[in-house]
Structures are given as structure tokens and as C-alpha cells.
């Protein structure tokens, strides 16, 4: 993939726009995205500024008549964005690796030419940062995974993957908050409540929070 040094801005019909930052999938870039989102969410006509993985979607309250001003503001905003260091909470999440839910543990090990123990150790080693929420209610995209356990997404998504699945998709990892379809590879599971619509903030975690996976068990 070629990486240009300017952001890419593209339309999602008339209801939203996508801003993709240039550069690496890392925390410094993500912090600039958080900063840009915090600014852009206050612009008139913008409903929400939603951070993705080194990108951001803007949804429109009312679609702008012409886009040039908005595009210029995004480019300027990116150039001006100082990394926003969010001092989040640190969560410890006990994980059962392998087993019925984490049935792809073996295939990830084979794909990466590693032993099961290696995959588990590599996956549980980093302190992950919640980069963004998305996909389904309460789901967190985590940054910080070791590239040695990268595995491309599935060709065809699974119709149903369990809630609490810890999975790998490309160079990303995350924990699903509820059962549903998934194009990722589940290597373990955790019992934790990530989302409750009755909470004041419905998602348990927010961008900037950190997660440490604790190896509770490894089922081979």
C-alpha cells in the first residue's frame, strides 16, 4: 500500500464524509485523530465526529451545500492537530485463550509459524490502547498488537461469533461486545460487560483507555 503524506478525504453519500490520515497505524497518529475529532465535532452542521483507526468519519446534521470549505478546514485541522493524550483508565481483562469460542487460535499459530503458547504470550504482552469504538455497540478497536500475529480477515464473514470473543483481523485485535457476524479470527474469550444502554455513557470503554489481557487459561 502506498502512503501519501496528505490526508485522503472521500464522501459517504450525502450523509457523511471520511477523513483518512496519512502515516502509520500508531498511537501518535491516533492521538492527532482524537484531537481533530474533538475540534470537528463542534463545527456547525456536524452531528458527530467518530474516530476510526487513524481516520475519522463526520456525519452531517445537514449536508453542506459545498464541500470545499469543510475539506479545507479538515486539512488545516489535521496540520494543526497536536496529539491529544487522553489519560484513560487501565482495565485488566482475564482471557481464556482457545477453546470453543477461541477456535481459531490454532489456525493463527499455523498461519504465523508460531506455537500456540507463543501466540498467547505475544497477544497478552502489550498494554493495548482503545483507539476507537465502532462496529457494534461497545466494541473497541485496540492499537498495539505485535505484527507477528497478523492474520488477514476472513474471505467470507462468519454468520455468528460469540459475545466476548477476543479476535484478530489483519493487524488489529479487539473484543466483541455481543454475539454477531464477524470477519475476524477468534482466539479466545472474556466475560465482561462492554455496553449497557442504561449507563450514563453506554459504552464501558472510551478512546484512550488501556487494556491488559491476563491469561486465565489456555485450552488447546
Amino acid at each position: 500500500m502506498t502512503v501519501t503524506d496528505r490526508p485522503r478525504i472521500s464522501l459517504l453519500g450525502t450523509s457523511a464524509l471520511l477523513f483518512e490520515a496519512p502515516g502509520a497505524f500508531d498511537l501518535p497518529h491516533q492521538r492527532r485523530i482524537w484531537a481533530l475529532a474533538a475540534t470537528a465535532s463542534k463545527w456547525p452542521g456536524i452531528r458527530e465526529a467518530i474516530p476510526g483507526i487513524t481516520n475519522m468519519m463526520l456525519t452531517f446534521e445537514t449536508p453542506p451545500r459545498e464541500l470545499d470549505t469543510l475539506i479545507a478546514a479538515l486539512n488545516d485541522g489535521w496540520d494543526a492537530a497536536e496529539g491529544l493524550a487522553i489519560g484513560g483508565r487501565e482495565i485488566r481483562l482475564p482471557v481464556t485463550y482457545g477453546g470453543e469460542v477461541g477456535s481459531q487460535l490454532q489456525s493463527v499459530a499455523e498461519h504465523c509459524n508460531l506455537s500456540i503458547d507463543d501466540v498467547v504470550a505475544i497477544h497478552a504482552a502489550p498494554l493495548y490502547t482503545v483507539f476507537a469504538l465502532g462496529s457494534h455497540p461497545g466494541y473497541c478497536y485496540l492499537g498495539g498488537m505485535d505484527p507477528r500475529i497478523t492474520m488477514p480477515r476472513r474471505q467470507t464473514p462468519l454468520q455468528r461469533s460469540a459475545g466476548g470473543s477476543v479476535s484478530i483481523g489483519g493487524s488489529q485485535t479487539g473484543v466483541s461486545a455481543s454475539p454477531g457476524p464477524s470477519g475476524w479470527h477468534a482466539i479466545g474469550h472474556t466475560n465482561w460487560t462492554f455496553f449497557d444502554p442504561t449507563w450514563p455513557a453506554p459504552a464501558a470503554l472510551a478512546p484512550g483507555d488501556t487494556i491488559r489481557f491476563e491469561i486465565e487459561r489456555v485450552i488447546r
Binding site: 485522503r8 472521500s10 464522501l11 459517504l12 453519500g13 450525502t14 450523509s15 457523511a16 471520511l18 483518512e20 497505524f25 452531528r47 458527530e48 465526529a49 467518530i50 474516530p51 476510526g52 483507526i53 487513524t54 481516520n55 475519522m56 468519519m57 456525519t59 449536508p63 451545500r65 459545498e66 464541500l67 476507537a132 469504538l133 465502532g134 462496529s135 457494534h136 455497540p137 461497545g138 466494541y139 478497536y141 488477514p152 480477515r153 474471505q155 467470507t156 464473514p157 483481523g169 489483519g170 488489529q172 461486545a177 455481543s178 454477531g180 457476524p181 455496553f195 444502554p197 455513557a201 453506554p202 459504552a203
Partner: protein, 324 residues
């Protein structure tokens, strides 16, 4: 009112939940926004009032008290207490009356709106059912026989009245029978496909497969492969986005879609035509027509004009009655 029988996933929907993306919560909401608004306009409701979206027949329901109701969206064979109900129509039920909906002859989703709306709790700003999160609507799930739904208020008797269905007023030229032409704005990865593949996208007759639902429409047609495999970092997506997964067959994201994805996006169905996708039947064909952003806004304005005219026309009837 009590659901007596239901086939397929009928659900409570309003216009949707629009400002919760940052928590991973998608819009949900009526697949045919125009039909929902029209039903609510007919009843003098807030246009965001919750209604029942019914994708499959038969469907049967008993009214618990005197109540105004409206049917919009799909063309169906419907009866209230034995009297036939024309399409896009409001009527009045007495306590105990049974509404029976049999065959669906046109379109894919019927909306049953009631005077005052269906009074389920507002959760995160909407009454729409969030299936994945299992909240909103009626206990976050599809309706089942035996469910007794609360209604906001019983309304005084109203006259029967119909309105012109949106697909007549907002007719699009040149659509063959069993074919829906929708306008799209090209998206981020359009240029990841070579010219010949792009041409296939525009000329293709895309069959709507049976794996199409509120989450997405999976289409079948020419093989759409990008010049090189594209694996993008996860980013926000909205209903209408057309993704091309590795199997080369497009998926149109619909109202229950995930809020983010990483497959390449070739185009996005414009809001003014998304309701047409929601009413396109399984097995029928879709075709895509490229449109510019400004023309997409003009199409939205045309949709708003239709709804504005409906509002004024329906109000006229009420004002005339008041004058007499």
C-alpha cells in the same frame, strides 16, 4: 394492541438513532424512511413516531381500543374488520377489530403507524430496535405473536384518507419491471478498480440475493475485483455504502449495518434513493446510476418537497373540517 400472528422479523422502528456512532451504535430505523414519514403525516403524528415495520406476510393484529392507523410502504392485501384497505391509507379501528395483512404484491416492507405512535421507551434518543445491542423497540427483538404493544394515545375518529404513494410522485425514469435504478455517489476506493471493472459496476444488473435484510443487501452479478487487494484500517460507514468484499460481490450496508468496516467502498446509495433499496424485493434487480454530490442534494430536496406537499395537503383536510 396485540400481535396475533407474524411471519419474519417485524420490528418497531422510528427514523433512527443518529448520534451514537461514537459508541458503536448504528442508526437502525425504518428501511423506507419516506413511507414511515408519510404514515405519520397521515395521522398527524410527529414524523419520528415509532411504527411497526413488517417485511413478510401474513401478519395479524388486534386493536385493544379505538384507534387511528395508517398503512404505507409496500402494496399489500389488507383488511380491517373485513373491509379492504387501499395502499397508503389511513383508517380507524374499533376496540377488538382485527387487522389482517395477507399477500404483499409490491415493495418489500409495510409500515403500520398508529395515532400517537407506538409508545416504547426512547433509548439513546430513539425507539428503533437495535437488534445487535438487544435494546430499543420491543425488548430489543423482533415482534412475536402475543406481544401487546403500548400506544401513546387513542385518537378521536378520523376520516378515511389516502395519499399518493412516493414511487408515483417521485417516479424515476426508465426503470424496467422488477428493476430498481438507484443513484450513487462514488466512494473512497472507486479508483482501486480499473476502468473495465468500473464499467461493469455501472452496466451490471445486480440481483438481490436471499441473504439480504436490514443489515445489508448482498448482490449477485459481474465479478468486481480491485486492481490489487485492499485491506483498509477500520473506519466509519453509514447505510447506503456499497462495499466490495474479497469475493467480488457487492454488499449495500443497510440500517442495521455495523458502524465501521474495512472492505473497499466503491460507491454510496444517496439518501434520496435508499428507501427504494429498502422496498426492492429479493430476487429483483438493482442498477446503479452515478450522480454528483450536488445532484444528490437536489434529489433530497425533491423528496422533502413531496413530504412538504403531503403535510400541507393533509392539513388542508383537517382545516376544511374545522371551517365547516
Amino acid at each position: 394492541m396485540e400481535i396475533l400472528s407474524v411471519t419474519g422479523p417485524a420490528s418497531i422502528q422510528d427514523l433512527g438513532r443518529f448520534d451514537q456512532y461514537r459508541f458503536g451504535v448504528g442508526t437502525s430505523g425504518a428501511m423506507d424512511e419516506v413511507a414511515l414519514r408519510a404514515g405519520n403525516i397521515l395521522l398527524g403524528n410527529d414524523e419520528n413516531a415509532a411504527a411497526i415495520e413488517i417485511p413478510m406476510m401474513p401478519f395479524k393484529l388486534r386493536f385493544g381500543r379505538d384507534m387511528a392507523f395508517a398503512l404505507t410502504g409496500a402494496g399489500v392485501e389488507a383488511e380491517i374488520a373485513g373491509r379492504p384497505i387501499p395502499p397508503w391509507w389511513r383508517s380507524h379501528a374499533r376496540a377488538g377489530d382485527v387487522l389482517t395483512i395477507k399477500a404483499m404484491s409490491r415493495g418489500a416492507r409495510l409500515y403500520l403507524a398508529v395515532g400517537g405512535g407506538i409508545d416504547v421507551p426512547m433509548i439513546l434518543g430513539s425507539r428503533s430496535t437495535q437488534f445487535r445491542g438487544e435494546f430499543g423497540g420491543w425488548h430489543g427483538r423482533p415482534l412475536q405473536a402475543g406481544d401487546t404493544l403500548p400506544c401513546a394515545s387513542s385518537t378521536a375518529a378520523i376520516d378515511e384518507l389516502g395519499i399518493e404513494p412516493a414511487d408515483i410522485t417521485l417516479a424515476r425514469p426508465d426503470a424496467a419491471a422488477d428493476q430498481t435504478i438507484v443513484r450513487v455517489v462514488i466512494a473512497g476506493e472507486y479508483d482501486a478498480f480499473d476502468a473495465a471493472t468500473q464499467a461493469l459496476f455501472w452496466s451490471g444488473r445486480w440481483k438481490i440475493t436471499p441473504q439480504s435484510n436490514r443489515y445489508g443487501y448482498r448482490l449477485q452479478g459481474p465479478d468486481m475485483k480491485p486492481k490489487a487487494p485492499v485491506e483498509k484500517r477500520s473506519h466509519g460507514i453509514v447505510p447506503g455504502v456499497i462495499q466490495i468484499p474479497p469475493n467480488g460481490q457487492p454488499i449495500i450496508q443497510m440500517r442495521d449495518a455495523q458502524t465501521s468496516g474495512g472492505y473497499p467502498k466503491i460507491a454510496t446509495v444517496i439518501r434520496a434513493d435508499l428507501w427504494r433499496v429498502g422496498q426492492a424485493r429479493l430476487g429483483s434487480e438493482l442498477r446503479f446510476e452515478q450522480t454528483a454530490y450536488t445532484d444528490a442534494l437536489a434529489a433530497e430536496a425533491e423528496m422533502s418537497t413531496y413530504l412538504d406537499r403531503l403535510r400541507t395537503n393533509v392539513r388542508l383536510v383537517e382545516e376544511l373540517r374545522a371551517c365547516r
